[in-house]
Symmetry: C2
Subunit: 405 residues, 2 copies
């Protein structure tokens, strides 16, 4: 198997890049910290003798050659970017474990028939620039490169400019590398594996994701002098939306989830009725029909609310992905590899979006999950014990060997 | 009467200081724009031959001498600071009209028995530093100077440092000037006078004001992977508070108003369940008992919400003023002055807080209101027609003459 200490040490070293005082990581896509994280990865890829290529959307690929000329590579990897209050494992674990697996193959002097490509995709988190999984989405042809480059972030920056600024606007054509198969190792980011005492999740499918930004326009006025009946309070209406969205999820029942993560008021002053509110709604379900129903109910609610309160309510789509079913053979390969090592394994659904979800559009893809302590993720206290990190990497190693032949 | 053109021109000139592209004014307390606005006022005071004094909290006083040695002055004025998205009249109108009245007295060669003091109080709006009406509150002895100077603003600055920075930490002892009476001219900032077609409001009383900042602490986690039942969503709870506060006001009925003007989420990211929410609640009522009941119901709601949702909810008082009844004789003087000029006048309640409310603690005080077009205030489109501005200033002139003898 892989060398657990080495993997843990690499993760700790990489977690210093963008480290936050609370033990977490802030490495927003295309920030200076992202650049530093990429530079470190590229240096480590070179150390392993991989051929490094960067494509026009900034995806980084490190290729270990195979023995059969022209054979499509097996691709693995994930992403290096984090949310602003992220942990030390989301994304980077899959990339570091892939490097460790390649290093182990070298040590074992294993030559595979197919090349093995370690990938780090651009802007998976989608918090600075929407949509999420953008690098893999562009790779898979789901978003045109010019549109991706023109994306304006929450800080007003243009993605393409930031890519140039950090030196990762590469020249490889997007989608140039067509893998034979894609397998991604990731922390679960949820409570299931830990609760069931299992080491490995063989991810069989993923939820659909619907992201929208809602803008409510009312009228600012004086908080002391304006009777309730004369108000056009954008903040109060935004609060109704937040409450509605949560109650919708409770009404639909599991696995429906719904989240308002961002909410801003303007002018955001104690004695001024808010003129404008901007909020995001994140809806997810494994069932596309349910997801559509949730979207429709929200849209109807927004229309009623606007009419009742004399407000303008607009919605803008930020991301929309249908639920995805992974390649069943690949899922079975993962289950078999886990079982062969005696690890407890189950099939499961991913609640989070992943690059593998995009890669599934252009070939067989699947994922390996390891437990997240306390089900915490997108939280500085995100944690997975070293032993479990190693178990996941071992399964990845075995699956790569098997797929690459 | 006063010269309307001159008053309107002065207001227009002063509105250039901190002017915003939408026609409004941003002159936050103790900002560079506030400094510039004060400098202009002081220059105009000097032009009129007033004796200018600045006290330790930055209140500016310009005194026109009276004929009787040792007679307590009649004080008038208001404030120059605005909210961040303010209009061109809130506060500054009362100061500019007072200057115009003094100028008119000079032109008419009127000598009054009592001195007349034109005041501009520090930080009336209370949006950058709480509480509001701070300069007049300190003047009236309701807040100790050191506490006022130590106030930390929403931008993290210390009020005392900003006062020094803009050069308005004066050396006059606070409260040194004890007026015989205080009369403040102000725009209504509400819809009443316009709706009733009246020129003048004789303000008889003011609502009580209760300001608090509520902080909700939950736990950030992944928006896609965290089932609804396992969430400790600070943002969703904050939204419940906003909705509760509005419904409380509707349930209590007029004149109860309740506003959440500020609301911030942390980390404020699309796919992260909010770990923390901070919001302000502004409750106002003319009846102190009702105000206390509203506060108690909110406190009980916060306790229930915290328990139900597994959250920590804390509240911090930012301002608390009981309802104030103005001096009845002074109110009658204002009514009589308006009637004598043939202006439509009514007694009314102020929904907004005012410096006169603080000055009422140390002597007879009252206010003159003029209409606000569309009832708009704390809005860049705040407006009062020139004729009405002149009518208010005329009433002020007559009342000052009468009070100063
Ligand atoms: N795995 C992960 O956290 N992806 C970010 C996109 C999302 O699911 O919100
Ligand atoms: N008059 C006025 O707007 N005062 C500010 C304090 C408040 O009433 O909110």
């Amino acid at each position: 198997g892989i060398a657990a200490d080495r993997l843990v040490a690499r993760l700790a070293e990489h977690a210093e890049i963008g480290a936050t005082p609370d033990g977490g990581v802030c490495r927003l896509a295309l920030s200076d910290a992202d650049r530093a994280g990429r530079d470190r990865l590229v240096a480590w890829m070179h150390e392993l003798g991989l051929t490094v290529q960067v494509d026009r959307i900034g995806n980084v690929f490190g290729t270990r050659a195979g023995s059969e000329p022209g054979a499509a590579p097996v691709m693995t990897g994930s992403h290096l970017d984090t949310v602003a209050t992220g942990g030390r494992y989301d994304g980077v674990y899959g990339v570091m474990a892939a490097l460790e697996a390649v290093r182990r193959l070298d040590e074992l002097a294993v030559t595979t028939r197919r090349p093995i490509v370690v990938a780090a995709f651009t802007n998976e988190e989608g918090v600075r620039y929407q949509p999420d999984m953008m690098g893999s989405l562009v790779h898979a042809g789901g978003l045109a490169l010019p549109d991706a480059l023109d994306t304006v972030g929450i800080d007003g920056t243009r993605l393409g400019d930031e890519l140039v600024r950090i030196g990762y606007a590469g020249d490889l054509a997007v989608g140039a590398i067509r893998p034979h198969a894609f397998v991604e190792l990731h922390i679960e980011q949820g409570p299931v594996l830990e609760a069931e005492g299992l080491a490995i999740g063989a991810v069989a499918d993923l939820q659909g994701i619907s992201w929208q930004e809602i803008t409510v326009e009312g009228q600012s006025n004086h908080a002391g002098t304006t009777p309730m009946r004369l108000r056009r309070d954008a903040g109060a209406a935004a609060a109704e939306i937040v409450v509605f969205v949560r109650e919708l999820a409770l009404r639909f029942g599991e696995p429906q989830v719904a989240t308002v993560g961002r909410l801003r008021l303007h002018p955001d002053l104690i004695n001024v009725i808010p003129a404008r509110a901007t909020l995001t709604v994140d809806l997810r379900h494994t069932d596309e029909a349910k997801l559509q129903q949730a979207e429709a109910e929200l849209a109807a609610f927004l229309e009623r609310l606007a009419a009742e309160r004399g407000l303008t309510v607009k919605s803008r789509r930020l991301a929309r992905f249908e639920p995805v079913v992974f390649d069943q053979r690949l899922v079975r390969t993962i289950e078999a590899a886990a079982a062969a090592r005696g690890y407890g394994v189950r099939r499961m659904t991913s609640g989070a979006g992943h690059d593998a979800q995009m890669m599934a559009r252009i070939g067989p893809a699947a994922m390996i999950f390891v437990p997240s302590a306390g089900g915490l993720s997108h939280n500085p206290r995100e944690h997975t014990p070293a032993e479990q990190l190693a178990q996941g990497a071992n399964v990845l190693l075995d699956v790569l060997r098997r797929l690459a032949g």
